[in-house]
C-alpha cells in the first residue's frame, strides 16, 4: 500500500519566514556589509542582489560539547604502517587524526565568514534603509507617450475593409437558424404526418395534397429569411492606446574640480544611483551619459566619472553646452525621455553663472522631462545657486536642493521628486 504525493507545486518558500527572521536578527551586521558593498558597486548594478558575508562567529549557536584536551582514544580506518605500541608525533595544529577531533572543530575553530546572497529586493530595502528611507516612492513621472493600435474585439459598425467575414457569417447562420426554428419544427411534424398519410391513403388523397402544399409554403417562408443582413456584419475593432515610451536617457553631470573631494563625490554617486533606480521603475531601457567638467567638459565612462580626479577651476557652462550638443545629436528624435542630474559644490567662475542659467533655461529644459540640481556643500549658496534659483520659479521641470551630509540624500531626493507630482 503506497501513496505517492506530488508536492512539487505545494507552497514554495516554506523557509521564507525563517529567512526573514535570520535577516532581522542580524540586521546590523548585514546592514554594515551592505553599506560596504555599495562603495564597490557600479551605479548601474543595482538590479542585482548582493553577496553578503558576515563573520560566522557572530551567528554561532552555542552548545555544550567536549573541547580539546584530556584523553581521546579513537579508531581510524586504513592502517598502512602502524603496529601496536607505535608512538607517533602529534600532528601539528591537532587538526589531523588525533587530538580531540570532530567535536572541537565544530564550533570555535573556523571563523570563516558566513556568506549568502541577498535578493535584489532585500538589497534595495537595506540600501534605502541606510539612507533612512521610509518606503520606496512609486509616483510616476510625466511620461512622453506614444500611441499604438491594438486589436480590441469586434464592433457592429466600421468600414468595409474591416469586415470580419467569419464572425459575420457565424452571426448570420445563427440568426437564420433562430428565425427559422418555429417553422422547421412544424415542417418536421408535417413530414411525419405526410409519411403516415402516404402509407395510409396513397399519393392521391386529399389529405396528402394539403400536407404537401402546406409543406411547400413553409419551406418557402424559410427560404425567405435573408441569407445575410446588415446587423450580421462584424468589423474588426482596433483601438489606439497610449503607450509610454520605454526608453530614457539620464545625464549625470558632475563637477570634478579640485574642490570636489572624495566624500562629496560619494554623495553625488549615491544621488545618481537613486535617480537611476527611480528611472528603472518607469523605463525599460535607460542610457546613462556621464559628463564631468572642470574648466572643460568631457563625456566619460562610469569608471572615470567617479574615480579620476582633476584640479583647477570650474566652468559649469562647458558641461551644459556638451549636454546640449549630445542631446541634439543623439536624443533629439522625440523617442527619448530626457532626465538630467547635476551635482556640484556650487563653485563657478563668476561670469559663467548667467551663461549657465541661459543655457539651461533656453536650450536644455525644454527638452527635458526633468532636471535636478544638487549642491553638495555645507557653506553659503554660491552664485550658481542664485542663478538657478531664478530658473526654478519659471520651470516646473527643474528643481534644486542642497545636500550637506549623506543623511540628506534621500530626503533631498524625495523633495526633488515630490515637486513634479504637484
Amino acid at each position: 500500500m503506497v501513496r505517492i504525493i506530488d508536492r512539487r507545486f505545494d507552497s514554495k518558500n516554506k523557509s521564507a519566514v525563517n529567512r526573514q527572521r535570520f535577516m532581522r536578527r542580524f540586521k546590523q551586521q548585514i546592514r554594515k556589509a551592505v553599506s560596504e558593498a555599495i562603495h564597490g558597486r557600479s551605479i548601474r548594478d543595482l538590479e542585482n542582489g548582493e553577496q553578503i558575508s558576515i563573520p560566522a562567529r557572530d551567528l554561532s549557536e552555542p552548545s555544550l560539547h567536549h573541547g580539546k584536551g584530556g584523553i581521546w582514544e579513537q579508531v581510524f580506518p586504513g592502517n598502512d604502517q602502524f603496529s601496536t605500541g607505535d608512538r607517533i608525533k602529534r600532528p601539528l595544529g591537532g587538526a589531523g587524526d588525533g587530538a580531540g577531533k570532530g567535536k572541537a572543530s565544530q564550533d570555535g575553530e573556523h571563523e570563516d565568514d558566513f556568506v549568502f546572497q541577498l535578493s535584489r529586493e532585500e538589497f534595495l530595502d537595506l540600501f534605502f534603509e541606510d539612507l533612512e528611507l521610509p518606503r520606496l516612492i512609486r509616483t510616476q513621472l510625466a511620461k512622453v507617450t506614444d500611441y499604438k493600435t491594438r486589436r480590441a474585439g469586434f464592433t457592429s459598425d466600421g468600414v468595409p475593409a474591416n469586415i470580419n467575414i467569419v464572425r459575420s457569417m457565424r452571426g448570420a447562420l445563427g440568426r437564420r437558424l433562430a428565425l427559422g426554428s418555429p417553422w422547421a419544427a412544424r415542417i418536421r411534424a408535417l413530414q411525419q404526418e405526410l409519411d403516415e398519410a402516404l402509407a395510409r391513403a396513397g399519393e392521391d388523397s386529399e389529405e396528402v395534397r394539403d400536407l404537401r402544399e402546406e409543406l411547400a409554403a413553409l419551406r418557402a417562408r424559410i427560404e425567405r429569411i435573408p441569407f445575410i443582413d446588415r446587423f450580421d456584419l462584424r468589423y474588426n475593432n482596433r483601438v489606439k492606446e497610449p503607450r509610454p515610451t520605454t526608453q530614457a536617457v539620464m545625464f549625470c553631470v558632475m563637477d570634478v574640480s579640485g574642490s570636489m573631494d572624495e566624500e562629496r563625490k560619494s554623495m553625488a554617486k549615491r544621488f545618481f544611483m537613486l535617480l537611476y533606480l527611480f528611472l528603472t521603475r518607469s523605463y525599460e531601457h535607460i542610457e546613462v551619459v556621464f559628463i564631468r567638467h572642470h574648466t572643460v567638459a568631457k563625456e566619460v565612462d562610469e569608471d572615470e566619472f567617479f574615480h579620476s580626479r582633476e584640479s583647477g577651476g570650474t566652468v559649469v557652462s562647458s558641461a551644459l553646452e556638451l549636454m546640449r550638443n549630445i542631446l541634439r545629436e543623439r536624443y533629439a528624435n522625440g523617442q527619448w525621455n530626457v532626465y538630467g542630474a547635476q551635482a556640484s559644490d556650487g563653485d563657478n567662475w563668476d561670469n559663467d553663472s548667467p551663461v549657465c542659467g541661459r543655457l539651461l533655461g533656453k536650450e536644455i529644459l525644454p527638452w527635458c522631462q526633468y532636471f535636478a540640481y544638487v549642491e553638495i556643500t555645507a557653506g553659503e549658496p554660491q552664485n550658481l545657486w542664485r542663478e538657478y534659483a531664478k530658473l526654478e520659479a519659471a520651470h516646473d521641470n527643474f528643481a534644486m536642493q542642497r545636500i550637506e551630509s549623506p543623511a540628506d540624500i534621500y530626503p533631498v531626493f524625495r523633495e526633488l521628486f515630490k515637486k513634479t507630482i504637484a
Binding site: 503506497v2 505517492i4 504525493i5 506530488d6 508536492r7 512539487r8 505545494d10 514554495k12 518558500n13 516554506k14 523557509s15 519566514v17 525563517n18 526573514q20 527572521r21 535570520f22 536578527r25 542580524f26 546590523q28 551586521q29 557572530d58 551567528l59 554561532s60 552555542p62 552548545s63 555544550l64 560539547h65 567536549h66 573541547g67 580539546k68 584536551g69 584530556g70 584523553i71 581521546w72 582514544e73 579513537q74 579508531v75 581510524f76 580506518p77 586504513g78 592502517n79 598502512d80 602502524f82 603496529s83 601496536t84 605500541g85 608512538r87 607517533i88 602529534r90 587524526d97 588525533g98 587530538a99 580531540g100 577531533k101 570532530g102 567535536k103 572541537a104 564550533d107 570555535g108 549568502f116
Partner: protein, 517 residues
Amino acid sequence: MKTPRPRTRGRAAKAPLPSGSEWTVEAIDRYNEEIARAAAHYKLDTYPVQVEIITAEQMMDAYASVGMPVNYHHWSFGKHFLATEKGYKRGQMGLAYEIVINSNPCIAYLMEENTLTMQGLVIAHAAYGHNSFFKGNYLFRTWTNADAIIDYLLFARNYITQCEERHGEEAVELLLDSCHALMNLGVDRYKRPPRLSLAKEKLRQQEREEYLQSQVNDLWRTLPAHELRTDARAEARFPPEPEENLLYFVEKNAPLLEPWQREVVRIVRKIAQYFFPQRQTQVMNEGWATFWHYTLLNHLYDEGLLADSFMLEFLQSHTNVVAQPPYNSRWFGGINPYALGFAMWRDIRRICEDPDEEDRRWFPEIAGSDWLETFDFAMRNFKDESFVAQYLSPKVMRDFRLFAVLDDDHEDKLEVSAIHDDGGFRKLREILSDQYNLGAREPNVQVWNVDLRGDRSLTLRHTPFRRRPLGDGTDEVMRHLARLWGFTVRLERADDDGKVELLHEIRGETTRPRPPG
C-alpha cells in the same frame, strides 16, 4: 554480493520494470510495488509508505527545518537554509537524495531531479530500509511515537506562533535561542516519555500550565516551618538526585518562567527527545537501509525485472555511498557510518550463511543460524554502541584495517593502542563501541544543586570523561541557562580525585546572553 540462489534471470513472468533516466509517477508506482514485494519476501515489517515528490528547493526547506515537514519558525533554520542554498547553487554540494521521516505512515521524500534509478534506490533505501528500522528498533519504539509526531509538530508550531502573537516575536526568539543551546542536554536517557497526541496535548496543556506554576510557587514558599529546619535539612540538596536533563529541570523548576515559556521549553525538549534515537543508531540504521536497498534491488535484478543499465547506475552510487577513505586521505572525515554499517550487516549474513572457523569461535550463537531471524533480532535490540560491541567481527576490522590511537594530553606522543591483529581485535572493538557511546561523546553535565534557602542559584556539575574539558561556547551556554533560570547559575567541575572547581559563574539578573552584534 554473491547470491547463493541460482539465477532465475530470463524466466521472469512479469515485464521488466521501466528503465531510462526519466521517471514518471506510474514508473515509481511500479518500482514501489515490486520493491514492496521483495521486502515482504524478506519479511521486512514496515509502516505504510507515503512517497512525496518534491523540488530541490523544498528539499532545502526540509533540510533547514531538521528534516521535518512542519516545524516552528526560528532564525537558525533560516541560517541553515541560506547555507545549504549557497552550497547547492554553487555546486559545492549535492543534496541528499532522500529524507525519510519516522512517522506513520512513513514519509519518504524523492527529489524531482533524481533519475529513475535513483528514485528506485531511494524507495528501497528509505521507504523499506529505514522504515522497517524505525518500526522495529527498540530505541525508536521507546522514545518516539510515529503516529503522533506530525500532529505534535503541528501543535508545536501553532503554539509557538500563538506565543509570538501574544508575547512578541523577540521574546519567543530569545527563549528559543536559550532552549536550543541546551537542546543536547535536554533529553531523558532512562525514562519513558508519555505518548503524545494532538488532542491530548491541547487538552492537558492548560491544566499543566496551572499545575506547574503552583508547584513552582510551592517550591519557593519559605515562610512556614522555617524554625523547624535543622542543620541536617539545610544541607539536603535539591534536586535530591542529580538531574541530567537540563531542559526538563528548567521546565519543571525554573522559578521565574511564565507558563507559556515552560510550554516552549517543553516543546524543544520533546523534539530533542524525538531525535535522540537517531543520534544513537546512525551506523546501524544507515547500514541497515543500505544493506536492504542493495539486497532488494539485487533480488529484483535476479528476477529479471531490472535492466543492466539500471544496475550499473545503481551500483555506481551505491559504491560512492559506502566508500571509506583511509585516515590519511584528504577525503577522510571519520568512519563512514554507511560503510561500517553496511559491512557489518553483510558480515552478519555471511556468518549466518557461510561461517568459517574464526566465526564459529567468535560468534558461536549466530554462526550457521537463519540469517533473517538473526537480522531481525539484531535490528530490534541494539544501538550503535552495543551493536558494535556485539557484532563487529575480526573480518570487518581486517577489511577496514582499523587501528586505535590513544591521545593523552599529558604525553607528548600519540600511541597506537591496538591494530587489526589477534591481540587487538577485542580492544579495537571496545574502543570503537565506546566511540559510539553517547555518554562519552557528549559531556556529562548535570544539575547538582539549587540553593533553595539562599540566592536560588543553580549549580551544574561537569564530571569530565577521561579528563576531557568543555569546549568553546560553554560560557555562552551558561548565559542562556541563566536567562532561563533567572538567578545566578554556576558550573563546577568534579575531578576524579573528588576535587571540585568552579568553572563559570553567571550572576543573577544582570547578565544576559550576548546580543547579536
